[in-house]
Structure formats: structure tokens, C-alpha cells
């Protein structure tokens, strides 16, 4: 009855679905196309891409986003495994708050971080007494990125680990493989697609981070001005440079998405 031609519900909604598909494609596609066309028409686009401000922003974004992602993965992986496998009451409370940063406006996150780590924040005096002033440093950029990006990785990793039947790990141990080696040889590879998806989302979120960064880290060229902030700043002085940066970010996003799709497909062909 249903499956082959889409079911009764789809039948009623099909015209609306087709219309929405067209409108959505145009809605997303047109601005992207417009950006690329305008960037291509712009004179001095190459100069814009290789200008010192662009290169500095690019370098800073690469360094901070990769650092944030590394910290998120190293700390988030065991955390996600614990969330997936244990039902401790306190852990469930933590679990309920893990995804808060996803729904929290980034600007609010920035203000909150200032209130915690800022000069007059809760931990400010303590940090200052050991010679650490976090706000308006590259470290603050990384803090902001971790704050907003970590939940994307933790959530995906938790779902991935929850999908690994613990009996696989038990069988592995009876085969003489230690719990630590079992994690690397069974748990991680089986959960791999989820971890990869989560890491990609977290990295993309870190790269595009704007609100919390500008609040907590400021907009200092070469130190805290990542690409989104650089685009915002250059829009005021040079549209060409802003367009070049925007096109570059678009390219990076597309590449990340393409790479993720490729890796997931290759894995799917190999295992399922």
C-alpha cells in the first residue's frame, strides 16, 4: 500500500512539498549564488584574498578552531562515553545541561564568560593573582569556541557510543584484549561515523563563532579577529575584501561537508 508510492500522508501534502522544495532551494541557493557572483565581479579579489588582514584572520581561525576541536575531542570523548553508558543520577542532571550552549544566544554566552573569567568576574581576581588575564586574548577566542562547539560533538558522540552494544566489548575482552585496547579496536571504530559527524559540526561551529568571541575576546587584528569578525570589520572599509573572505569561508564549509560525506560513504560501503 504505502511505502512504494510514498504513503497516504505524502499524497495529500505532495504539492505543498514540491512547492516548498523549490522555494527552499531558491531561498538558500540565491544568496550563495549572489555572493559568489559578486565576489567574482569584484576587482582586486585576489589582492583581497592575499591581503595581510585576510591572511591573519585565516591563520588565526585555523589555529583557534583546530585547537578548540582538539580539546573538545580529547575531553568530550570520555565524557560522551560516560553519558552513554552510565545512569548515575548526578550524571543525568549534567546530561540535561550539556546541550544548553546550542540553544543559548552566543552573545549571552560571551557575557556569561566575561562574568566568570573577566577582570571583574567571579574567577577574575584569582586568575589575575597568578598572572592570567584571559579576556581579549587568543585564549579567550578558544574558550568561546569550545563553549559553543563542544555540545555538537558530545551529543553526536554520545549517540554513537550508545549504539555500540557493550557485549561487543565484553566479547573482545574474553578474546584477551584489554579494556583500553578494546576501546580503540571496537568501540571507537563502531561509533566512528557519529564521532566524525560530531567533530565536523563542532569544527564548523567553532569556525563560524562570532557573538561570544566579540563579547569575550574582542576584535583585535591578529589576536582575536577570526574570519567572521574580519568580514564584519572589512564590510565597513572594503566590500571587496569582505566578499573575498566570505567566499573563502563558503568554500571551506562546502569542503568540510564534502569531505564528511565522502568519509561516511566510504565507511558505509565498507561495513553496511
Amino acid at each position: 500500500m504505502g511505502r512504494g508510492n510514498g504513503g497516504a500522508a505524502l499524497g495529500a501534502l505532495a504539492p505543498a512539498g514540491v512547492a516548498a522544495t523549490i522555494i527552499y532551494t531558491l531561498f538558500i541557493g540565491l544568496p550563495i549564488l549572489a555572493l559568489l557572483v559578486r565576489a567574482g565581479q569584484q576587482e582586486g579579489i585576489v589582492a583581497g584574498l592575499t591581503g595581510p588582514a585576510t591572511l591573519q584572520a585565516l591563520r588565526l581561525t585555523a589555529i583557534t578552531s583546530v585547537t578548540s576541536l582538539a580539546i573538545v575531542i580529547v575531553a568530550g570523548t570520555p565524557f560522551a562515553l560516560l553519558l552513554a553508558r552510565r545512569r548515575w543520577p548526578l550524571l543525568r542532571v549534567v546530561d540535561a545541561f550539556v546541550e544548553l550552549p546550542i540553544v543559548l544566544p552566543p552573545v549571552v554566552a560571551g557575557v556569561a564568560m566575561l562574568m566568570a573569567f573577566g577582570r571583574h568576574g567571579l574567577l577574575g581576581p584569582a586568575l589575575a593573582s597568578v598572572g592570567i588575564a584571559l579576556p581579549f586574548t587568543t585564549g579567550a577566542v578558544i574558550f568561546a569556541q569550545i563553549f559553543v562547539a563542544a555540545p555538537f560533538y558530545i551529543r553526536a558522540a554520545r549517540i554513537g557510543f550508545a549504539g555500540v552494544d557493550p557485549t561487543y566489548e565484553e566479547v573482545s575482552q574474553t578474546l584477551g584484549v584489554s579494556p583500553w585496547a578494546t576501546f580503540w579496536r571496537v568501540t571507537l571504530p563502531v561509533a566512528w561515523p557519529s564521532l566524525l559527524t560530531g567533530a565536523t559540526l563542532a569544527w564548523a561551529r567553532a569556525v563560524s563563532e562570532f557573538g561570544a568571541t566579540i563579547m569575550f575576546a574582542g576584535n583585535l587584528t591578529g589576536r582575536t579577529q577570526t574570519m567572521p569578525l574580519a568580514i564584519m570589520t572589512t564590510m565597513e572599509s572594503s566590500l571587496g575584501e569582505a566578499l573575498a573572505l566570505a567566499a573563502l569561508m563558503l568554500l571551506m564549509s562546502a569542503l568540510a561537508l564534502g569531505l564528511l560525506g565522502f568519509l561516511l560513504r566510504r565507511r558505509e560501503e565498507a561495513t553496511a
Partner: protein, 369 residues
Amino acid sequence: MSRPATGGHFTVSAGDFRLELSFAAPAGSILVLFGPSGAGKTTALRTIAGLARPESGRIEIAGRTVFAGNESSDSGPTWLPPHRRRVGYVTQQNHLFPHLTVWQNVSYGLERRRREPARRRVAELIERLRLDGLEERRVWQLSGGQQQRTALARALAPSPDLLLLDEPFASLDMELRRELGAELRDTIAQLDVPAILVTHSREEALALGDRVQIIDAGRTVAEGPPLAVLEQPGQGRVARLVGVENLLDMRVSARRPQDGTMVCAAGERTLETPLADGCAVGDAVTVGIRASDIILASGPLPQSSARNTWAGVVAGVELRPPGYEVALDCEGTLLRCHITGTSLEAMGIEAGQPLWAIFKASSCFLLSE
């Protein structure tokens, strides 16, 4: 036996459930743990494998103490984690690693997997378990039987000191079960490794077990050779657990020591059973008869050595693979008899037909509660 002993006794709890078990698994033989679901069979295997922690007791595998509770106060408690126990564990759903090929699964537990000795070992097991040609297949490309053979090969590859099999054939069809069961028996005998097999199938326990332990609600209620325990159990509780089809409540009406039999009656119905020492005339007894020990005939045999012949009317016929179960109504007493499809057809058995049930006195056994 050349190998040091494998066995032990322990108490383990999970929530409200409590299991007490003593076991011994000689090399090259199969110990069957038989019982209904929830009896604690799987918990027993998990405890021996080190996946569940017992409260007290002692477990030895090939002469090595892998667990010793408080009682060995001189040395303190001993606990070896699962990866140091050298056991092979095969589960019902086989749990083959989905991200690995057949070859990678079988070689998983071997050290230096790429070296020659490991390669030889894997090739040998793949050949023995008839997996040749499937080495590069993914797990999901295998049939159910091939998956279980791969799981068995994987468990055997590191030369375990003890093989633990948790209903390994439960998800397979009957023919495949028999075939794999025979292979398993041969393999275990040849490799001279002890094995503990958990099952709730009587046929499997009879076909594979060298010894059977019947587990119910966390305790061993009977143990011994499979034929004795499963075919003519001595206790009513065990008879119900192993599924004896006919359990008749009767009274002893006469003793015939010269024949070694006695006569039991329920109303007008009488039958002869082997003589039991403790029974006096007038005692209430429960008589068990296996459905497969009863011969059905279209008339009473003119002369035969069988001591019991009951007349009845067919009340119903049910499919009971591989054959059929005929329920014969013998004046109110329902007798269940197992026959083949060929016999059913040849005799044209259908409901309402009068038939005679013939069975030997020695097929009847007395049950105590």
C-alpha cells in the same frame, strides 16, 4: 585427562536474583547447563568469563585460579579480569565485530596477527569450520550458520582453556542446528578443550551434552548423564522443566516383585511401571512417560512383550517439528504421543479415530517431588 582441572563453585547476585553453582568441565567434553529462561544460565557463563563478579567461591580454569573469594583467607581474594582468563565466549547473537571482515574477526584475539604463525592458525580454523572463500566477506554478507561458525572460529583462535557457549544455535533453523552441533562436538573433542553450553532445548542438550546440569531459579536441581536426567528425570519439578509430555497422578494398586514391576491405577486405568523400593500399595505416585516412547496402533497387538496397552480416541493432532503430536483421549486421561509425518499419513490419523497406545513398563518412570 592431561589437562589440569576446570571447575569451581560460586555465588553471584544481580539485584534480587541469586545464583549458586558448582560445576566441573573436563577437557574435550561438553557440560550442558539446561533450564528455562531467567534460571541464571547466562549469569553462570558471564561469571566464569569474568564479566560478572561473584560474592564468594572459587573458580579454576585449566588449573589456574581465576577467582577466589574470602574463604582463602591466607592469600586474600583473587580476581583475574576477563582478558586474562583465556576463555572463548560465543553468544546467541554471535556479536561478530561489524567493522571487520571474517578473517579480521577470526584473527582478532591473536597476537601479532600479521605474522606467519597467526596466519596459519586463522587459515586452519577457517578451513576446519568450512569458511574458506569467505575470508574477505563482511559479517552482514554471511548466512546465520556462517556467522555462528565465524564466531566459533574467533573464540577458538587464541586456543582458549575453556569454551563458553550461550545458546549459540538458538537463532538457527533445526537442520542447521544439528549440523553445527555435530561440528561443534567434533571440534571440541579434537581440540581437547572443555566447553560449557547453555541451552533450553532438550534436543540440543541430549545431542551435545556429555553431562547435564539442570538449573532452575538460580540453583542446580538435577545433574548427570543427559539421557538419565532429561529422558527419565526422577523429580516432578525436573520433569516439568525438561518437558516430559505425560505426567499421570496414580495410586499403587499391586506389587509384582517377581517381574520387577508394580501396577498403578487411576480410576479404571491401570499401567505397569518398574518396581520402586519405597512404594507400598495405596501410595500416591506421579508416573512420567515420554511421548516418543509410546507406539500407536490401529488395533491391540495380538501378542507382545509390552506390558501396557490403552485404548483411546484421537482428540487432536498438532505439528511438532520434526513430527506430530497426537493427543489420545483414554477415557478422560490425555496421552500425548509423538509420531513421524510418514506414520501419520500411512495410518490416516484424524480426530475421532479410535487408536491403541502401547508402551513398555520400563518407559514409565516414577517421579518424586
